[in-house]
């Protein structure tokens, strides 16, 4: 890793740096994490940053908030290569990869318009995570990995 990389990661004092996000997915990352700046945390986003591993990558830094593993695991669906750096006093104290969860709720909306999860019922969407996509627990529709970003339900 280059110094340049270290520098970028270390720029925040306390918080979380989500690195190696697939280019173009940074705003989806924020949306999935429910981070929209309204709770006052300083958020910085780098897009299309040159990367040894990915060619181009996005990077997201959230000041003052340490994201837990379960919070970030859902990111594996849109940014499987992402790494999570917990920063305290400018030092990376913890570095983790995202791990695919077994299931995700309320993150993706079912693309099947006739699915009961899209009707006005008191339920959340719920998907089981497969090796190469996710599957609606209600109607069994499969959303491929490359279709997940287009079906995010986070706004």
């Amino acid at each position: 890793m280059t110094d340049d990389h270290q520098l970028r990661v270390s720029k925040i004092r306390n918080g979380t740096v989500i690195d190696h996000v697939a280019a173009g997915q940074a705003l989806n990352v924020l949306a999935i994490l429910g981070i929209d700046g309204t709770s006052g945390e300083a958020v910085s986003v780098g897009m299309n940053v040159p990367s040894d591993r990915l060619g181009r990558k996005d990077i997201v830094k959230v000041e003052g908030r340490e994201l837990s593993q379960s919070e970030v695991d859902v990111l594996s669906l849109i940014a499987p290569a992402a790494s999570i750096n917990i920063v305290r006093d400018y030092d990376v104290v913890e570095k983790n990869r995202v791990v695919r969860p077994d299931a995700v709720a309320s993150i993706i909306s079912c693309p099947n318009r006739n699915c009961i999860s899209n009707a006005d019922e008191p339920i959340q969407s719920r998907f089981t995570v497969l090796s190469d996509g996710v599957r609606c627990d209600y109607c069994e529709t499969i959303v491929r990995e490359d279709e997940v970003a287009a079906n995010l339900d986070v706004n």
Binding site: C115, I116, I123, R135, D137
Partner: protein
């Protein structure tokens, strides 16, 4: 059965299926022995879209077990019309009955409803999704006529939207069955069914022509291709015409070929087949009674 509900054929193990089919055979052999079996029990029929046949079949099955039924009636005259959620409806209705049968136009409706009720719930069709009690009677008919192992079956017609097809194909993966799927390109099996078949190790062999596979079939399961799946009348006629069979088609078939159809048919099976030994679709429809009796008997007898 291990579960309290019957939602999807994909949840059924071979043991589950055989338990229902064996019970159905017992009922077929001696219906009188089951006549008072569930006296005093009530089955709730919740049909959110019309399906007179399936409703009558469950109604009859429950009454032949000595039980009674309550029917929510047509949607137009119910609370649903006033905007009640399905979750609320089933929570109210479960208080009226010992088990529920649900038919609903949305995929996943039965899965959701089962999350809200404690009584056993049977999915009698959810949109283009599953129709597992139909599958059980199909399996019963196949077992009686051709056997479920060492079986070569062709499933033909609308494989994309046909829920009976999806349930049957998934259930057959529990047996030593070789499945062939015959349909127009535009009505092939949907992705999720294909995924399940692959995941269970089944080979998915697809054909656009029946001729390619007809001679080797033990069972040919025909389904209707619906007009509304096609943009225009001409296209529909052209495509649907290729998947109609008559006695001449069957010259190439084995003498023992069993022909099935979930009914109602329109013109995909010519009436000149009705009087042949191949025709098994009316027997199949009649099997709905012992099989649904068996299913209700098992679900209502469980200690929950």
């Amino acid at each position: 059965m291990r579960q309290d509900h019957l939602i999807s054929a994909s949840h059924l193990s071979r043991e589950d299926i055989e338990a229902v089919l064996d019970r159905a055979a017992d009922i077929d052999a001696d219906p009188a022995a089951f006549r008072q079996r569930h006296a005093g029990k009530v089955l709730g029929l919740c049909f959110f879209e019309p399906s007179t046949r399936t409703r009558m079949s469950f109604d009859s099955a429950m009454k032949r077990l000595g039980g009674q039924t309550v029917d929510m009636g047509p949607v137009e005259s119910s609370s649903v019309k006033k905007g009640e959620t399905l979750a609320d409806t089933v929570r109210v209705v479960e208080g009226y009955a010992d088990a529920l049968v649900l038919r609903h136009p949305s995929e996943g409706a039965a899965t959701m409803a089962a999350e809200f009720v404690d009584v056993p719930l049977v999915n009698a069709g959810d949109g283009a999704g599953q129709h597992p009690s139909q599958t059980l009677l199909d399996l019963y008919t196949i077992r009686e006529n051709a056997g479920l192992d060492d079986l070569t079956i062709g499933i033909m017609g609308d494989l994309k939207y046909g829920r009976t097809v999806h349930s049957l194909a998934e259930a057959l993966t529990n047996f030593d069955a070789s499945q062939h799927f015959i349909s127009p390109e535009s009505l092939r099996l949907p992705r999720n069914v294909r995924y399940d078949l692959h995941a269970s190790g089944a080979q998915v062999r697809e054909h656009t022509e029946l001729d390619e596979v007809l001679p080797e079939l033990d069972v040919l399961y025909v389904t209707r291709i619906q007009r509304e799946r096609f943009p225009d009348e001409n296209e529909y006629r052209k495509v649907a015409g290729q998947y109609q069979i008559d006695s001449e088609t069957l010259d190439a078939a084995s003498d023992d070929l069993t022909i099935m159809h979930p009914l109602p048919r329109v013109d995909e099976i010519s009436p000149d087949i009705d009087d042949t030994d191949h025709a098994t679709y009316f027997e199949q429809a009649h099997n709905g009674i012992p099989v649904r009796m068996a299913l209700l008997d098992i679900l209502l007898s469980q200690d929950r």
